[in-house]
């Protein structure tokens, strides 16, 4: 029997998760529908005045994206935990933190990337200017991977619990605040025609930090949860 080296293992895991997700395509739609629905609720709640919507739009879209990301988080380990393949993963000779990056990456491709596809539509619904919509896409591309990476730590801590969902939101949402602040601010700033380099640099820095640190924490948390 031959063993896969690290990069092969990474690719195998990535392909496996994508295949599994592809076979349950209908589940991928749900976070998207949630994203659109929550955003559509706000004009109904606060009134349809276009100037008001343009002002609060960036915040609304980003809060909705945050909640959609949170909602889809739990699925990252759920089926693996139920059928025991998560424990097999822990026994693998490869560093668990690298394998976790593969899992998070697959999860982001399934749940984070689709948000980018519908976001321009929501921007139009909220009457955001063209520049702001472009910035919205950039911030989502930089920010949603951070949400997935940080959130996975929370999922790893709560994976064995029966009622993990509520606790997960309590654990993860405070840690999402910096992403929300910088991203929503960037969209609002570019809507006002000002430069946003600083915001984007900070978001990128958060992404770099999250990629390098959070898989280690996730791996440690998983080992504790499944011990």
């Amino acid at each position: 029997m031959t063993t896969a080296n690290l990069s092969q293992a990474f690719m195998i895991l990535l392909r496996r998760d994508l295949t599994l997700a592809y076979r349950r395509r209908s589940e991928m739609i749900n976070p998207l529908l949630f994203f659109v629905l929550v955003t559509a609720l706000f004009p109904l709640g606060i009134g349809a005045d276009p100037t008001l919507l343009r002002e609060v739009g960036p915040g609304i879209v980003w809060v909705a994206a945050l909640l959609a990301a949170l909602l889809s988080l739990e699925t990252i380990f759920r089926s693996d935990f139920d059928d025991g393949s998560l424990e097999q993963l822990l026994l693998s000779p490869h560093p668990l933190s690298i394998l976790m990056i593969a899992k998070v990456f697959a999860h982001w491709l399934i749940t984070g990337l689709p948000l980018l596809v519908v976001a321009p539509l929501l921007g139009v619904l909220l009457d955001l200017p063209g520049d702001a919509i472009k910035t919205l896409l950039i911030t989502l591309a930089l920010g949603t991977p951070v949400l997935s990476l940080i959130g996975t730590i929370g999922v790893a801590l709560t994976v064995g619990l029966r009622k993990g969902g509520m606790i997960l939101s309590l654990l993860v949402l405070p840690l999402y605040i910096p992403v929300l602040i910088f991203a929503a601010n960037a969209v609002a700033t570019s809507g006002a025609g000002l430069p946003i380099d600083a915001h984007l640099s900070l978001l990128t820095a958060l992404l770099a930090l999250a990629i390098s640190l959070s898989p280690v924490a996730t791996a440690a948390a998983l080992r504790i949860s499944l011990s």
Binding site: P174, L175, P178, I181, N185, L213, A220
Partner: protein, 246 residues
């Protein structure tokens, strides 16, 4: 010295030692608090701008200091527990969480009571208030996670990881909130640029800070003793203890 620490890591010795230490710490805490309160509430001069209502600071500021200090202690103890598998460190970490959450809540409430006459509002979205509120949520997350996991050793280690993740995030959250604040509304009335504090006000403030530290030590040791009894309920020395006291 090393031998002393080694001995302390055993739950039994820690339980006895803490039991002896608590009364002394409690008396010292009471002493500092009485002197500090008397000094702060009666002797310290009235502020020329805020009148007497500034005196809530003698509770508010030490509570806010403690809220951050305890989070650091909790994360530090959690890290020690994770690295060297010392049970006692886990116990200390989780016992600190409740005390820390209480101090954070106290800081928020006293700040809000002070804010009503000073700013005319119970709450403003000032950077410091917001980060303190987020700190409270971080504490509550730690407590909720600890309560949700049934096996208490696993729970303690999971919460240690969460506390460490929180420590990495606290500076990021703090600065992001600060920048968010300045981006949104610019400097507000809330930014009082620490006008160098009068020495007659500083002394009671420091006395109260020491009193709060001692209070934390007393409460955390009491909580740790309870936690140890609960965890070690099947060991011989706890049974002897129960038998002796009944």
């Amino acid at each position: 010295m090393l031998k002393f620490f080694h001995k302390m890591a055993s739950p039994k010795y820690f339980y006895q030692f803490a039991g002896k230490l608590i009364p002394w710490l409690a008396v010292a805490c009471l002493g500092f608090m009485l002197v500090g309160l008397y000094d702060g509430l009666l002797l310290a001069p009235t502020d020329y701008q805020q009148g007497d209502s500034y005196r809530i600071m003698f509770v508010h500021v030490p509570a806010a200091w403690m809220s951050m200090f305890i989070y650091m202690v909790m994360a530090g103890a959690g890290a020690i527990g994770l690295i060297w598998h010392i049970k006692l460190a886990e116990v200390m970490a989780i016992s600190s969480a409740h005390v820390g959450a209480s101090f954070t809540f106290l800081a928020l409430v006293t700040g809000s009571i002070w804010g009503k006459p000073m700013w005319g509002a119970w709450w403003v979205w000032d950077a410091r208030l917001t980060s303190e509120l987020i700190l409270l949520f971080l504490y509550l997350g730690v407590i909720a996670l600890y309560n949700a996991v049934e096996d208490k050793r696993t729970a303690a280690r999971a919460t240690s990881i969460l506390a460490l993740v929180g420590v990495v995030n606290i500076p990021i959250i703090h600065y992001s909130v600060e920048w968010w604040n300045t981006l949104h509304q610019g400097p507000t009335v809330t930014k009082f640029d620490a006008p160098s504090i009068d020495i007659d006000m500083l002394i009671p403030l420091l006395l109260m800070a020491v009193a709060f530290k001692l209070f934390y030590a007393v409460v955390v040791l009491m909580r740790a003793r309870c936690e140890i009894l609960q965890r070690e309920r099947n060991s011989g020395w706890v049974r002897d203890l129960v038998k002796a006291s009944s």
